[in-house]
């Protein structure tokens, strides 16, 4: 474990070296924003709408008591979505989708000697391939999380209204009641950290792949597992640091 940690730190040092050409670097970032971020929008929307709906209905069924006002469901759903689901849940899904894609892309480049070809040209291959991905992820993930928050809350509204469990007016009142804007800041801070973990950890496993197709698959699995564990660990640390 310490071996990989040390190697990961040295890898990051190479990743954040000076880019070879800024115009090419900017194009790479735009390409990665599209590839890693915009292409993930669909799955984020689907997960968020269902997540919001389920959280709202479960809360409504569990606090179905006459002395607890219905708007409490809106408050609970909002806080669950803002604090936890839209950042942690969405980032865990991105660790699966984006993390495996980064690891397999870079891993395949490694085993087909494309990374060696970059090195031979005198290009910092780690910086050229990984830094645009990290920057793109750190930039786009908070946006995806904000979209997820809106869609999640809208999903809760739809589920509550359509099932008749939470009247629309109560839900709308609930999601505004006692709102603390810091919850959004907290969630965005987490999403930036998680985005860095997903992109850099997955790239690390891909970059140091050796062998063939089987090892690329293994690197992809390791990327998802390691990223997910670190997301959960940092979720705990950041919650303690920011909310305690």
């Amino acid at each position: 474990m310490f071996y990989h940690f040390g190697k990961y730190v040295l890898f990051l040092k190479r990743v954040f070296g000076k880019p070879d050409k800024h115009s090419v670097f900017l194009n790479q970032i735009i390409k990665e924003v599209d590839l890693l971020g915009i292409n993930s929008l669909g799955i984020v929307l689907i997960i968020s709408v269902f997540m919001g709906a389920v959280v709202t209905l479960q809360t409504a069924y569990n606090i179905d008591m006459p002395f607890i006002p219905k708007y409490t469901v809106g408050v609970a759903a909002r806080d669950s979505i803002l604090l936890e689901f839209s950042s942690t849940m969405v980032c865990l899904i991105l660790a699966g989708k984006v993390g495996s894609s980064i690891a397999s892309e870079i891993g395949t480049m490694r085993v087909t000697e494309q990374i060696d070809a970059l090195d031979i040209m005198g290009i910092n291959s780690a910086g050229f391939l990984v830094m645009p991905k990290v920057i793109a992820m750190v930039f786009i993930t908070p946006l995806l999380v904000i979209i997820s928050m809106g869609i999640g809350i809208a999903g809760g509204y739809l589920a509550g209204s359509l099932t008749g469990e939470v009247p629309a007016a109560e839900y709308v009142y609930g999601i505004q009641y006692g709102f603390r804007p810091f919850y959004i800041t907290y969630s965005l801070i987490k999403s930036v950290v998680f985005a860095f973990i997903i992109s850099s950890v997955s790239a690390y496993w891909g970059y140091y792949t050796s062998g063939g197709a089987l090892e690329v698959g293994r690197a992809s699995t390791k990327a998802v597992v390691t990223s997910s564990i670190f997301i959960l660990l940092f979720n705990l640390l950041l919650t303690q640091l920011l909310l305690a």
């Binding site: 070879d20 050409k21 000697e113 494309q114 070809a117 090195d119 031979i120 040209m121 005198g122 050229f128």
Partner: protein, 254 residues
């Protein structure tokens, strides 16, 4: 000129290269031959700096590669072109983009100048009307030629080829060999080729070194090959009936 001095390399305690010393001359096609697993690719990748060596030195035109700083190494690498065994073309880029890639990153040329150079290099390797195609849409032989075009895009002083004929039919192999030979003379490059193809050895081998189990067993020219008196080298070179007959013919002619 590239000089290799007492080069050693091991992986996980297993010594792969054992004190190899030799000189690769400018304007010549220098061949490293040997059986699969003999250490040819490790030697080639050590020479270009893709593997850190344990001991010894590599001298590029009188300058020690080992004692160079990272920035000096990166600068030197801009004088290197390499043809990889599997071509190593970028899958998501077209043929033209692949050839233009080193120019995009390492030069300040205009797009038109870069396109002209890419077209020139592609024409030089006898490829036309393939600029817009992706590597997966062209044949293995064409991929090798695109990789050669990319390798020569920056007018390199050194060309390294790892198994340039692997996976190619005999006719295409000869074309690739001839192309490498022509380019070596045209650009006055120091070319090092890894191969176990005896047709290449006899066709373009200006200088040949034979590696066996990480040690240099023999070196000479293709004309010296018929007078080899090393058993290991002999068993490799004259493994096929064709080459045994060729040796007999050569002896009888004398």
């Amino acid at each position: 000129m590239i000089e290799v001095k007492n080069l050693s390399k091991s992986f996980d305690g297993k010594q792969i290269l054992k004190g190899i010393s030799t000189v690769f001359h400018k304007g010549k096609t220098n061949l490293i031959i040997g059986q699969s697993g003999s250490g040819k690719t490790v030697l080639l990748k050590s020479i270009v700096g893709l593997h850190l060596i344990d001991d010894g030195d590599i001298i590029y035109n009188g300058k020690s590669f080992v004692s160079m700083s990272n920035s000096q190494k990166r600068k030197l690498r801009q004088d290197m072109g390499m043809l990889f065994q599997g071509s190593a073309l970028f899958d998501s880029s077209t043929v033209e983009e692949n050839v233009r890639f080193p120019l995009d990153i390492l030069t300040d040329w205009s797009l038109e100048e870069k396109r002209d150079r890419a077209n020139f290099c592609l024409e030089r390797v006898n490829l036309k009307n393939v600029n817009h195609l992706y590597p997966s849409e062209i044949s293995g032989g064409m991929q090798k030629r695109v990789a050669i075009a990319r390798a020569i895009a920056l007018n390199p002083k050194y060309l390294f080829c790892d198994e340039p004929n692997s996976g190619l039919d005999p006719k295409t192999s000869i074309l690739i060999d001839e192309l490498i030979k022509e380019l070596t003379q045209e650009y006055d490059m120091t070319t090092i080729i890894n191969t176990h193809d005896m047709n290449s050895v006899m066709g373009i081998g200006d200088k040949i070194i034979f590696i066996h189990q990480g040690e240099k067993q023999w070196e000479g020219t293709k004309d010296d090959i018929f007078n080899v008196d090393n058993e290991v080298v002999e068993s490799f070179i004259f493994a096929s009936d064709l080459f045994r007959e060729l040796r007999e013919y050569h002896k009888n002619r004398k």
